[in-house]
Symmetry: C2
Subunit: 337 residues, 2 copies
DNA sequence: ACCTTCAGTTGAAGCGCTTCGACAACCAGA
DNA sequence: TCTGGTTGTCGAAGCGCTTCAACTGAAGGT
């Protein structure tokens, strides 16, 4: 392995000069810089990560903690993770992948060992066990999702309350008065995952304001579960003319079931989905939807956490405003004969 | 931050003794060990990762390189990644997440800087640009997927040739003589991704042996694409009585389209999928399928790469045998009237 | 001509750990 | 009693980098 010292010798300068060329923390004459850079290239030098971390007390790594829930929609997680990784690289950092397996202790381990300079936490619950550790650790951290008490923490998330409200508004404007919501799996609510509860609250509040009748039902991710949920919904509210779907796994099953029961979309029933845009356009009907900006969330989380590492930026709540795109699955409520 | 030296002072021993207690590389009296461990607990000591890496020349990190392809089925990737992360933890290692963004250069960077002790590469192409770098680097590495020339490399993968063969056999035994294959997106083949080509080869070879007529068509991941592909297939081969689906994104669309065109599954047409088991059981028909053992692949990749880090284990090809589970989507070919 | 300033460079002191060789202290065998 | 082999512990030498204080010249001001 080539070391800094060898580069220095090869270029005829001192080790510290090479270090300063690399970090840019002191001015270096153009000639010297040139010479050093040539030596680095010729020798194929790469600074040793461990030595660098030890001397500078910075690892240039950010930890991404991503609990695995099989009942959560995976592609969104994945998209966030990849956005985090690529954005981190553009800040000259790498990403360490932590699963939920290890539990809250992972926070202590990573912080204590100086393995990572900062952390990004995903799948945050309202009363998350990792938060006390995080607060006491005092390391730069950003949450994707919002806990019950976000004081002193920085959080990024889609504004799910507004998202719920927006869906209801759109359908209410089209004249729908009986709306059914196909929510996430029951376990998601039982775990008090913020986004699911907030969406529900947003839906309910706006529905009440607009005088719309709302039926909210959780639903597992299988075709059979969707069939059961749909049957129950139509049984309880035969006049339902619109559906809002949050569990992306059952979007296609729902459309398929509606088709089978002779209901045309959007002539007979409207459907609004809360999902990433690609999912909305690949479904059998191009769906009116509120996008989940997974990439944007990942990107912002990194920007915010890097700012913290640099010592800038206070804690804040970064709520992304929802954006509803009208496509072919929503239309005026059918007129009653 | 608590250091090893402080622990040593607190326990009344030398720094090296503490180090040996931690690593177990020398025998330590029970009494001393006890005392040191108590000090560690009381002070809340965590060894500094950078210092450790510098001194021992091992980072206890393995890099997972996962190129992002939006045309690849994401959940499988995710499942592998999570399996890799948790298995790595059980070997006292962490996982660094690298995307394809950086290209082959990432290999050089990670190896050169000593950031990772080993690498696991996903989404390997037949003629992968990362392989020359990997070979010359001489670091422990394992591929998930198999390149055209795997000499000197260790690879883990499902035996996709056998998988293709198995699907055809199953359907041939049931009497099907006209089988259509819904493949991955065209781009996957154009990129020469090993698994897709090998599956196709396995399908074709076995079909030829068994005297079965096979139609292989790539298909993008949307409902519209599946509709187009299905129409073409039925146009070209009206007598098709069975489908083999490799692109998991269009499984539900296919079932939905078959239903719409009045074809019952499995009475009129049989469907066999190549997908993770959860996908097979959550579809609208419980699918006969060959499982993609994502977790198993991730787990094995880590075991193999850790063995290499320890200096054991030669390079080898770890081909997992396919397992076909008969469910409710395949049955005897309909008799011609 | 002299002093100041500052850009450019350097040597040396660590960062916190691992590991090697040395060395007591002890036990068993002769 | 002495020798030889364990066993348990320690001191010191790095690992490869960053960074601080200090130094050297040359440019600029008076």
């Amino acid at each position: 392995m080539v070391t800094l010292a060898e580069v220095a010798r090869h270029a005829g300068v001192s080790a510290s000069t090479v270090s300063y060329v690399l970090s840019g923390k002191r001015s270096i004459s153009a000639a010297t810089r040139e010479r050093v850079e040539r030596s680095i290239r010729e020798l194929g030098y790469h600074p040793n990560a461990g030595a660098r971390a030890l001397a500078s007390n910075r690892s240039n790594i950010i930890a991404l903690m991503m609990p695995l829930r099989t009942d959560m929609y995976v592609p969104v997680m994945m998209e966030i993770a990849l956005a985090v990784a690529t954005t981190a690289r553009s800040h000259d950092h790498d990403v360490l992948l932590l699963t939920g397996e290890e539990g809250p202790a992972a926070v202590r381990r990573v912080v204590g060992s100086g393995l990572a300079d900062a952390m990004i936490l995903m799948d945050v619950e309202l009363d998350d066990a990792r938060l006390p550790l995080l607060r006491e650790a005092g390391r730069p951290a950003v949450l994707i999702g919002i806990p019950a008490d976000p004081t002193g923490l920085t959080c990024v998330d889609l504004d799910f309350t507004a998202t719920g409200a927006l869906c209801v508004e759109h359908l209410a404007e089209l004249g729908h008065r009986d709306i059914a919501v196909v929510g996430e799996a029951a376990a998601v609510y039982e775990r008090h995952t913020g986004f699911a509860e907030r969406t529900r609250d947003g839906l309910r509040a706006r529905a009440a304001e607009l005088g719309v009748r709302l039926l909210h039902r959780p639903c597992e991710g299988s075709y059979a579960a969707m069939a059961g949920t749909l049957a129950r919904i139509l049984d309880e509210r035969p006049n339902t003319t619109a559906f809002i779907v949050q569990n992306e796994a059952v979007i296609d099953p729902l459309l398929s079931l509606l088709r089978q029961s002779g209901k045309a979309v959007p002539e007979d029933v409207s459907v609004v989905a809360i999902c990433p845009d690609p999912v909305a356009v690949q479904a059998s009907v191009r769906l009116t939807s509120v996008a989940i900006p997974a990439q944007e969330m990942g990107r912002r989380a990194v920007e915010l956490v890097m700012a913290k590492v640099r010592g800038q930026e206070e804690s804040l709540l970064d709520l992304l405003p929802p954006r509803l795109t009208v496509r072919s699955s929503s239309g005026p409520a059918p007129t009653v004969h």
